[in-house]
Amino acid sequence: MSTTGDSTTRAEWPLYEVFVRGKRGLNHVHVGSLHAADDRMALTHARDLYTRRNEGVSIWVVRSEHITASTRDEKDPFFSPSADKVYRHPTFYDIPEDVPHI
């Protein structure tokens, strides 16, 4: 709990989440977060902080508050539609051993 004018100002630098594409052919992956005054500063900070050694060829930054997430409980019924459809998996189907390439 701080009431100094300075930390009030600091608190106005919003939090950004940073995603980096390691190299061509890969997805962007979440690597961490940082604070910046605006989008452009977030990008340059992300470059300086997360790609000092060629760790990336592309960076996305997004304000943390703009991310919508599922609830925190992994047992949430939200995910249950994906759990009870075994026929979505190739192993659900019995194919004789001697059928090639399947």
């Binding site: 709990m1 701080s2 100094t4 300075d6 930390s7 100002t9 600091r10 608190a11 106005e12 630098w13 939090l15 989440e17 690597v31 961490g32 977060s33 940082l34 604070h35 005054a37 605006d38 500063m41 902080l49 000092r52 050694r53 943390s64 991310i67 997430a69 609830t71 925190r72 409980d73 047992k75």
Partner: protein
Amino acid sequence: MTTPNATVPAEGAQKPLQEHFDATIARDQRIEPRDWMPEGYRRTLVRQIAQHAHSEIIGMQPEGEWITRAPSLRRKAILFAKVQDEAGHGLYLYSAAETLGVDRADLTQRLIEGRQKYSSIFNYPTLSFADVGVIGWFVDGAAICNQVPLCRSSYGPYARAMVRICKEESFHQRQGYELLMTMMRGTEAQREMVQDAVDRWWWPSLMMFGPPDGDSPNSAASMAWKIKRHSNDELRRRFVDMTVPQADKLGVTLPDPELRWNPERGRHDFGTPDWSELQRVISGDGPCNSERMERRRSAHEEGAWVREAATAHAAKQAARAEEGAVA
């Protein structure tokens, strides 16, 4: 993602949550930011991660003092990159701490007001350029011993920050050792500088692992929660075993008359650090505590106008963009 674990469930509802948490730890799976976690686990993590972050940030100072006085452009560039990495380590860790629902600015404030601690090692002075080498070799070497097991820490964001950090520490340790090898090939005076730096940094480096196990009250809980994977004494022994052959190769003597190989145990026996010194340095009475804190405080205060200007600029740009959109 940084949504804190804010809601405290009622007594009855807490039991299945606790069981789920315990089972996740038992299966050696990671706890992630939005999971329910016991308050003690969260508090322990915040304290440990913040302290770790502060150590990286304060840790820039002892070596940073030598950037302008590095003996060659090569050494200057290396030292610059190394110190910059330490800033990065601090920021990775503050980022991990924020996933637990704390605010970064508040952590900085706590450091500046002396309400949170940082590693005792950074309260010792760097008297010669050989200290830069010895810090890389000992201090970053000790950090590696500490941090490699933390890559498997039970809290996901902390473990991932550690993976990132460990990748960079190897450069830190090697540049230090190489610097010392170069000095050892130099003049007699240079060799003496190296030995002097080794003599001054050895015991404080052993103290980096914290008090002896019998005297480390928080360790048991941290190990049960798999935040920490090894005890202080175990990590200290690993560091000694790792460093002794490196000292031999370098041609320096570690300043401990009790240090010798114990063939039965397959490890080195070594002397006991002066724990009262550690206590003194931790409680604020080390050679450089006030200097380090003062420097951190003034850097924060002198940077305030930059932060304010950036905020004002961002607000102005946003207002202009809005006007443009309306017009």
